[in-house]
């Protein structure tokens, strides 16, 4: 046995070890002692733990029933009650939780797909066309970026109640289409992704501006479109004050407002606590998946917004 394992080990070590150390040599360039390596990476681990631990707590807490939640240590597994908790969430108020999730997907999805298309079209026009009042119109867009969202929520509610649109899906769907920051980003993307020569060539070939936008401009700006859409999706999914103010009908609520209502119930009735915790976990899964899958896009999006 010993003769069999030794060669295996030997072939294994040379394959991994030198490659790793060679890589390090490149980046470290002979600098940085063991102590500084330990300090830097140690601090990075501490910072990351601060970010991750609350989410992990949510994960552990959602596997516990109400008694274990208060009884057992936070990161110990009690009786594994995750599936009972999910079943309880699904059963509460005739399955209203999934209705809330569907509403969130509808609001955030429309905001992301349609709202971002509107922003991308406007940003593209600001970069590619010459027209009168271009600068002052773009100035309006920038003012729109600077006005805090929540400052317009109450005025929007007041206006919506005049035209009788409160407590309808339109009260949420129309505002989420407006994304001035998306226009700003789209203008930057249009400038860097879509060469004017390409559009000129298309024009010479007889393509109208609308056709060349959908056939050339939009596909070239696709990474930018996805980035804007992703951030809009998250923004709408996280939005709390707008739906809280606009909607009274429980069937129309997005999941953020719905869960906060359950939290209100949980104060006098602790048996609601596992519902709140498990519901919270379920509601962040779509976002976590989207972020992990679309890493490349949000990184580029953050850079464009801040550095350019």
């Amino acid at each position: 046995m010993s003769t069999k394992t030794l060669p295996a080990l030997r072939t294994k070590t040379p394959r991994t070890m030198p490659r790793k150390s060679a890589q390090r040599q490149d980046t470290v360039a002979g600098h940085g002692g063991f102590a500084s390596k330990l300090t830097v990476n140690g601090l990075l681990v501490v910072g990351s733990l601060y970010m991750v631990v609350p989410v992990l707590w949510l994960l552990f807490a959602s596997t516990k029933n109400a008694a274990d939640l208060y009884g057992t240590s936070a990161y110990a597994l009690g009786n594994f009650a995750l599936f009972e908790n999910i079943a309880a969430v699904a059963a509460q108020d005739g399955g209203v939780f999934f209705r809330w999730m569907a509403n969130s997907i509808l609001y955030a999805g429309v905001g992301a797909v349609l709202g971002s298309l509107i922003s991308v079209m406007a940003g593209y026009a600001f970069d590619k066309f010459n027209f009168r009042w271009k600068d002052s119109l773009f100035g309006f867009v920038l003012v729109g970026v600077l006005i805090p969202n929540t400052a317009t929520v109450l005025p929007m509610y007041l206006l919506a109640s005049v035209v009788g649109m409160t407590n309808t899906i339109w009260a949420v769907l129309i505002p989420v289409l407006c994304n001035p920051f998306g226009v700003y980003l789209a203008r930057v993307y249009a400038a860097s992704y879509v060469p004017s020569e390409t559009l000129e060539a298309a024009r010479v070939d007889g393509a109208g501006p609308i056709r060349s936008f959908f056939a050339l401009g939009l596909p070239m700006m696709m990474p930018g479109y996805i980035t804007i859409a992703l951030f809009q999706f998250v923004g709408v999914w996280n939005n709390f004050m707008l739906p809280l103010v606009m909607l009274q009908d429980q069937q129309l609520l997005p999941v953020s407002v719905g869960i906060s209502i359950w939290q209100g119930y949980a104060v006098p009735q602790p048996e609601f606590v596992p519902l709140v915790i498990t519901g919270s976990l379920l509601s962040i899964i779509p976002l976590l998946v989207a972020f992990i899958m679309l890493q490349r896009f949000w990184k580029s999006g953050l850079t464009t917004g801040a550095v350019k």
Binding site: S36, A122, L177, S256, F291, L302, A306
Partner: protein
């Protein structure tokens, strides 16, 4: 666009066509692309703000004993005066100022330090760390506030339990601790997001400059402080701008925490004050005035930050 056209287009046809796109149909096609955005912009931003300004100059007055229809009358700046004279609103503004004074240094400072650590040559597993610090941003504000509300609650929280085990009695939800407790939620939500922005800016710092500094004998820390940090100042000023606009919106987190503790009143921050005015006190005119004050404050502060940062970038 105009300067590039002649090289791409055969000479004779160029001038004519150019003119037709630039002035004739140019405006019309641009309009086609811009109308959808400006339509929703008008509905979702311009109209509400104008309507709120109008409302803020009127008041509902009940006649006589308070029976019968309320009358609407023009009152000038009366609502603004009432809002600004209201003790709870002014306290809310002061509280928000205190919140900013703790939150901005903690969050921005934390993000700068973390980004510099991540950019240090000895840092490992950079992609993993980036993903982990960004994780909280994928958690909606409501859920973040809920998680922390439980992490602050004695009996259920491992944090409180651990502190008690170490002999420290602390109630995160009492009147003194609740402000730092809410700051912590903001720091948790936003630090990672800004780490990514700053780290990307750091990655754009030319490696030759750092190499030259190293040859001159500057250590890691020296290079970080005197070379890297000044080069990310433009990104930092954008972060400051959006952070200030963001903090003025503070509403979600305290509203959620308010359900777990009586330390947070219904008028704790200006946005909650406006919400309370509209839906609890049913004074829409005052709510409109408060909203306009908040928006004006945001506009003023972002102007100050932009001025200040452009002056800093020049010098």
């Amino acid at each position: 666009m105009a300067t590039q056209a002649p090289t791409a287009v055969p000479q004779p046809a160029a001038p004519q066509r150019r003119r037709s796109t630039a002035s004739g149909t140019g405006g019309r096609t641009a309009a086609l692309f811009l109308v959808p955005f400006f339509a929703v912009f008008a509905i979702a931003m311009v109209a509400p703000v104008i309507y709120a300004i109008v409302l803020s100059f009127y008041a509902q007055q009940k006649s006589g004993l308070g029976f019968g229809e309320a009358k609407t009358s023009f009152v000038g700046f009366e609502n603004y005066l009432q809002v600004l004279e209201s003790e709870s609103f002014v306290t809310g503004i002061a509280r928000l100022g205190l919140y900013c004074a703790i939150y901005i240094p903690c969050m921005v400072g934390g993000a700068v330090v973390f980004a510099l650590l991540l950019d240090a040559t000895v840092a490992r597993a950079r992609k993993l760390f980036q993903l982990l610090v960004f994780l909280p941003h994928a958690v909606p504000g409501v859920i973040a506030a809920l998680i922390w509300a439980y992490l602050y609650t004695p009996g259920i929280s491992p944090v409180v339990q651990a502190l008690q085990g170490g002999g420290i009695q602390v109630n995160f939800l009492d009147a003194h601790m609740v402000l730092p407790a809410i700051v912590n939620i903001g720091v948790w939500e936003w630090t990672g997001y800004n780490v990514i922005i700053l780290f990307t800016a750091l990655q754009a710092v030319p490696r030759e400059i750092l190499e030259a500094a190293r040859v001159d004998g500057a250590g890691e820390i020296r290079a970080a402080v005197s070379i890297k940090f000044p080069l990310i100042l433009p990104a930092l000023s954008v972060i400051m701008l959006f952070t200030i606009i963001g903090t003025l919106q503070l509403f979600t987190e305290p509203s959620i925490i308010a359900k777990a503790t009586p330390s947070i009143t219904s008028t704790w921050v200006p946005n909650m004050w406006a919400y309370d005015a509209a839906f609890i006190r049913h004074n829409l005119n005052q709510a409109a005035a408060a909203s306009i004050i908040i928006a004006a404050l945001a506009a003023f502060l972002s102007l100050v930050v932009t001025r200040f940062s452009s002056r800093m970038n020049k010098s």
